[in-house]
């Protein structure tokens, strides 16, 4: 594995809290992979995300991005450029009142040449399918569109890694589908490493790897097909089990022999269809 991010035994506590928000987290993220991070509120998943581009610095342990230590102040901009962050509320991360001017914000900050900025802005907007809206005012766009503009604004930095902290929490199902398929395509087609923090099991089911956090530690880590069938463990961590997995587990308990890795409704229907054919 070629790790783009290495997290080594990281511990972090917020000033006003007696319990560490991160408690000895160690993991590597493979370049070009799609990783979903799950966990109930207060499990430390947002705190974890904020360590990946040096918004927060570990109290103990270290985080390496492309071998750059996030604690070294000289490398700060190099790290921020490599690890792009998208947040929950799209309204609060769009700076300019014209879409393309907003996307240009990061490369302008980085001092990129004007012609190159134009190329990056157009490219980023095309990648998220918002090129036709480049002259629109952000506040007139739908939630899903705004969030895609926010993603384009980060892509214009040409990052290695895209970290998304609950990007779909405020969106309706249509907006969620738009954002998740955009992010998935960026990973599959462009090779961008994606770290998606989410509450939605169906989004996590599309990742290569699922990390479940609990009280600042990594509680479960594996492919979705490995993690989701651990129904009792997930419930104990205050998470729900996807209905597809739960159904298959119950049917298997009743005597059927269905593959537990069938996570999407399509895969689940295919598996049941085959068993009943």
């Amino acid at each position: 594995m070629d790790p783009v991010i290495r997290v080594e035994n990281v511990t972090y506590s917020y000033p006003d809290s007696d319990r560490p928000a991160l408690d000895g987290v160690t993991l590597d993220v493979a370049r070009g992979s799609f990783v979903a991070v799950l966990g109930s509120n207060g499990s430390g998943k947002s705190t974890f995300a904020k360590h990946l581009n040096a918004i927060l610095l570990p109290a103990a342990g270290r985080v390496l991005v492309d071998e750059l230590d996030t604690a070294k102040e000289d490398d700060l901009l190099a790290i921020r450029r490599r690890v792009g962050m998208v947040f929950q509320n799209p309204d609060n991360q769009i700076v300019a009142n014209v879409v393309e001017d907003d996307v240009a914000f990061a490369p302008e900050n980085m001092g990129v040449e004007p012609a190159e900025i134009r190329r990056r802005v157009d490219g980023a907007l095309k990648q998220v399918g918002m090129y036709d809206f480049r002259l629109h005012a952000p506040h007139l766009l739908s939630g899903g569109q705004k969030q895609r503009v926010a993603i384009a604004g980060v892509l214009a930095m040409e990052p290695e890694v895209l970290v998304l902290d609950e990007p779909t929490a405020m969106l309706d199902p249509k907006g969620r589908r738009e954002v998740v398929s955009t992010v998935e395509a960026l990973c599959r087609d462009r090779g961008i490493t994606v770290i998606l923090i989410t509450h939605h099991m169906d989004e996590a089911a599309r990742a290569d790897r699922v990390i479940v956090m609990d009280r600042g530690r990594v509680a479960l880590d594996g492919t979705p097909a490995e993690v989701f069938p651990q129904a009792d463990r997930l419930r104990a961590l205050d998470l729900t089990v996807p209905e597809t997995t739960d159904l298959i587990l119950r049917l298997n308990a009743a005597g059927m022999a269905l593959p537990t890795g069938a996570l999407t409704v399509e895969a689940c229907a295919a598996a049941i269809g085959e068993a009943l054919a």
Partner: protein, 288 residues
């Protein structure tokens, strides 16, 4: 018994400007007392505009809303009365918190009702108990609470007005799965205890499945209306207007497409489990 009825309701925004938009279009809807009705439809389908008429926050362009047969827009007094009889919890209601203490914030609505002190006190305590907010929080600032507790405080602020019809717009949006399940359970318990009418706006089809009746809106009109089984049986229609299906209904639809004999009204995991097991046994499968 309290009924709410919407008659020929039309609302046009920015009338006479280039931005003119008809958000709801001669809509009729009657909700019987004691029912839990789910309102679904994607953003821009007119749901929010509709609910803002139910407590007279918006005035109709045409048509009206009747509470027990009486026009809520008839007079200023009628409008004010409707505000108190119909409680609305908007999306992300925690943004409305403003008082210095949790207690005072929950008491804001009852105070506007001009109730006496002991009654306000009783209602605040009861509402807080319903949403599972410990009295230990009463003297804290609502702004210091966690996201989930803020949400509970805001909802308690509406419950304390003891509305006959409670309208909830995406009450669980943004909560984690445990928080979602817990809040829903508490809201349903409140509904049962008070025998109130509930209108629940949601994108979550699993939550929609918990309602007695579902109303589906699209482009300012009602396109489907019936029990969850009836509405989810129209899976093709729902998918064609860009809505999700509950996972069980979706799997059932896919199985039917494969030629399997799965009933059309299925929408819960339990129903699907029974149906699949029955088919399997029919094929000679032996349950253990």
């Amino acid at each position: 018994m309290k009924n709410i009825e919407v008659r020929g309701l039309t609302h046009v925004y920015s009338r006479g400007t280039p931005f003119e938009k008809t958000a709801i279009d001669s809509l009729d809807l009657a909700i019987q007392a004691g029912m839990t009705v789910g309102l679904i439809g994607h953003t821009g389908s007119g749901k929010s505009t509709l609910i803002s008429h139910l407590n007279a926050l918006l005035k109709p362009t045409a048509g009206t809303v009747l509470l027990d047969g009486e026009d809520i827009f008839a007079s200023k007094a009628a409008i004010r009365a409707a505000r108190f009889r119909v409680g609305v919890v908007f999306q992300y209601p925690e943004y409305q918190l403003f008082e210095e203490t949790v207690f005072a914030d929950i008491a804001y609505g009852p105070k506007n009702l001009k109730l006496d002190k002991s009654e306000i006190d009783r209602r605040v305590r009861q509402a807080a108990a319903f949403v599972g907010l410990d009295e230990g929080y009463f003297d804290r600032s609502p702004l210091e609470l966690s996201g989930g507790q803020k949400r509970r405080t805001a909802i308690a602020g509406v419950l304390a007005m003891e509305p006959e019809l409670l309208v909830l717009d995406e009450p669980t949006a943004g909560l984690d799965p445990a928080g979602r399940a817990d809040l829903l359970e508490k809201l349903f318990a409140w509904k049962r205890a008070r025998n109130a009418t509930v209108l629940l706006v949601t994108h979550d089809m699993t939550i929609a499945g918990l309602c007695d009746r579902l109303v589906v809106m699209e482009a300012g009109r009602i396109v489907l209306d019936g029990t969850p089984a009836e509405v989810f049986a129209q899976s093709g229609k729902l998918l064609s207007i860009g809505l999700d299906l509950p996972p069980a209904a979706h799997i059932a639809r896919l199985l039917r497409e494969k030629g399997l004999d799965v009933p059309a009204g299925i929408y819960t995991e339990d129903q699907l489990y029974e149906a699949v097991l029955a088919l399997w046994q029919g094929k000679g499968g032996v349950p253990c």
